[in-house]
């Protein structure tokens, strides 16, 4: 018994509990329907599973295409060491988005319908195709990590030969997909609160995804350095922090310009729940980290950099929730708050993501090896980091 408890470390216990609750909710969801498991209604048909699992899940996976573009297209090889964790996150992210979609779709058994039943005027149709195609691209981009581990030379050479076209297709699909999640809400001009409804929604979604992609890379590198007692790539991540400052700046200017164009200033200063959430999102999630990261002392300090990146991630999540849930509640007057079963499915999916990442990071060559190992790896050709 004592031995058993010893095995069950704190985080493993947390994981088991989250899995247990999530599996119970899964059982209810698939045996009694959406109505029994969720607080969704005719007045509020999209809730946490769309707002967090899909919108945030896809956004947090944006580091994959951002870093692929930086390293392979712009040829900034400095960032090569963090490209693998970014691609891993993206791949896991998309797999989990598809997994989560099975919960939210009323008829998950018909998820394949979009392949054969086309409606090109639908943003959702575009989303479906982007998810299918980009998940395939990510699987290919991720495959070298697996092939290296297994020592499969020939497929490895093949995937490396098509790296550039693959990256270009990946960047295009991500651009379309990140922005099309914003386009989903273009159709509800009368429902979404004017603080968030804008014809520029697709552009905002795209730019903020690039920002959060960079922030996630910083965040993960920091977490995994602690988990695996690995040296953290500070100079590199600080550089990424600098990129983040520029992206947040572009985002801020576009948001201000948009408010001015739509003459929506009044909503920002009207004291109500929406404006408070807007301030939280823009102030704490965009402006504060932007200022913090602009200060060299903060950017060059591991904790400072990590906290700023975390703020960006939280701000991003809040933005997606505001667009999809809180910004819609005023109109719907349905008072939606996710049920505990919705929440437990979501936390289970997050836990699965973290577990998947940790397992991959432990057993596959995801992170750059420490100095003394790097030498031996360079000697064996199939373990080389260059293509």
């Amino acid at each position: 018994m004592k031995k058993l408890l010893g095995l069950l470390t704190f985080w493993r216990a947390v994981l088991v509990i989250l899995l247990g609750l999530g599996l119970y909710a899964t059982y209810v969801r698939f045996t009694q329907g959406l109505g029994a498991a969720t607080n969704l209604s005719d007045q509020f048909p999209w809730g946490l599973w769309i707002g967090f699992d899909i919108l945030c899940g896809v956004g947090l996976a944006a580091g994959g295409f951002t870093l692929c573009a930086i390293v392979y297209i712009f040829n900034i090889k400095t960032f090569k060491p963090v490209i693998r964790p970014a691609v891993l996150t993206a791949f896991l992210g998309y797999l989990l988005v598809i997994f989560a979609l099975l919960y939210d779709l009323g008829r998950p058994d018909r998820i394949w319908h979009a392949i054969v039943m086309w409606n090109p005027s639908s943003v959702m149709f575009e989303v479906a195709w982007c998810v299918m195609l980009y998940t395939t691209v990510l699987a290919l981009e991720f495959s070298p990590i697996l092939f290296e581990k297994l020592g499969w030379e020939r497929p490895l050479r093949f995937v490396r030969a098509i790296t550039i076209p693959l990256v270009i297709v990946g960047v295009l699909l991500s651009t379309l997909h990140q922005s099309s999640l914003g386009s989903l809400y273009l159709i509800v001009p009368e429902k979404l609160h004017p603080l968030w409804y804008s014809s520029l929604l697709p552009v905002f979604f795209f730019v903020s995804a690039i920002g959060v992609g960079c922030a996630m890379v910083i965040f993960e590198s920091f977490m995994s350095s602690r988990a695996f007692k690995r040296e953290i790539e500070m100079p590199l991540l600080s550089q990424l922090g600098r990129v983040l400052v520029v992206i947040l700046m572009i985002y801020t200017i576009m948001k201000l310009q948009d408010l001015a164009d739509r003459r929506a200033w009044a909503y920002v200063v009207t004291p109500n729940l929406e404006s408070m959430l807007y301030w939280a999102e823009m102030g704490l999630g965009v402006l504060l980290p932007m200022i913090l990261l602009a200060i060299p002392k903060v950017r060059l300090h591991a904790t400072g950099l990590f906290s700023s990146a975390l703020l960006v991630v939280l701000g991003f999540v809040l933005n997606r929730m505001n667009v999809s849930i809180t910004g819609m509640e005023g109109w719907a007057q349905a008072g939606y708050f996710p049920s505990w079963m919705e929440i437990s499915v979501t936390t289970m999916i997050v836990a699965l993501g973290i577990t998947g990442f940790a397992l991959a990071a432990r057993y596959l060559p995801v992170f750059p090896p420490a100095e003394h190992e790097a030498k031996t790896m360079e000697e064996s050709p199939h373990m080389a980091w260059a293509e």
């Binding site: 009694q32 005719d42 009323g106 018909r110 550039i164 295009l172």
Partner: protein, 253 residues
């Protein structure tokens, strides 16, 4: 077949609920006196006090938002007016419910294999040359059925002849590009829960503006990315080659 429509004159409605009952019978829905649209009620009559009763029913838009957003094309607008739903295609994403400006489509939330439910404009009756069940059942003429153009003319005639009785607006004529169901009222429509902030153009235009840019993004973006890679990496290769040449020359000397 000429495009059919319904005209609902709120001033004539007495709230008897016969339209609702006829609808339930026609569509085989369980009896009940719902006041909110749901999977068992394709139309309801809402009491707004002072003998004002308002029917809620699918508007059967000219350019339906639900049909535009459905990823698998489960909704179709037929030539004679109805907007139909094909259950066998539906994947249950509920984007139609999210996007409908009138909040009409409802869902069978309690089923494991749920489906969308909404008024289907009695399309089988229409095919037989019959009016919709609700219009046929209406004892006061508050709901009438007919050719779309004729009903618009009728609504305009009522507004012209009794301007003091009505607010000067045919609801559904221009909202979101127009519908196949029109309302006349003595009370401003926004006070009766009708959305009053809808644009005059069809909502699908909003997403179509974004979607139509995709081919350009792919073509221009793909070329630009490839071009960028080509230029930047060429520079890199040339640099390496020059360094190598220099090295060779240095060795000669």
């Amino acid at each position: 077949m000429a495009r059919k429509a319904m005209l609902i004159d709120i001033t004539l409605c007495v709230g008897c609920g016969l339209c609702r009952d006829a609808c339930k019978e026609q569509n085989g829905l369980p009896a009940g006196e719902e006041t909110k649209l749901n999977a068992n009620a394709y139309t309801v009559v809402q009491d707004h006090g002072n003998d004002v009763f308002v029917r809620r029913v699918c508007m059967h838009c000219e350019v339906p938002t639900c049909a535009s957003v459905c990823p698998v094309g489960a909704f179709t607008k037929t030539a004679d007016g109805p907007v139909l739903y094909e259950e066998s295609k539906c994947i249950g994403c509920r984007y139609c419910m999210q996007a409908c400006p009138y909040q009409v489509p409802t869902y069978t939330w309690d089923q494991v294999a749920p489906r969308v439910r909404k008024c289907i404009f009695c399309h089988t009756r229409l095919a037989e040359g019959l009016p919709t069940a609700c219009a046929e059942a209406c004892p006061t003429g508050a709901t009438i059925f007919g050719d779309r153009e004729e009903l618009i003319a009728e609504a305009q005639r009522r507004l012209r002849e009794e301007p003091e009785k009505y607010v000067n607006h045919i609801y559904g004529l221009n909202e979101a590009g127009g519908s196949s169901v029109f309302f006349l009222s003595a009370i401003p429509f926004e006070q009766l829960g009708f959305p009053n902030n809808l644009p005059d153009h069809p909502l699908p235009m909003l997403t179509w503006n974004a979607l139509s840019k995709i081919p350009n993004i792919v073509a221009v973006g793909g070329t630009a990315l490839y071009g960028l890679w080509w230029i930047i990496n060429r520079r890199d290769e040339v640099g390496k080659l020059q360094a190598k040449l220099k090295e060779m020359e240095d060795r000669k000397e």
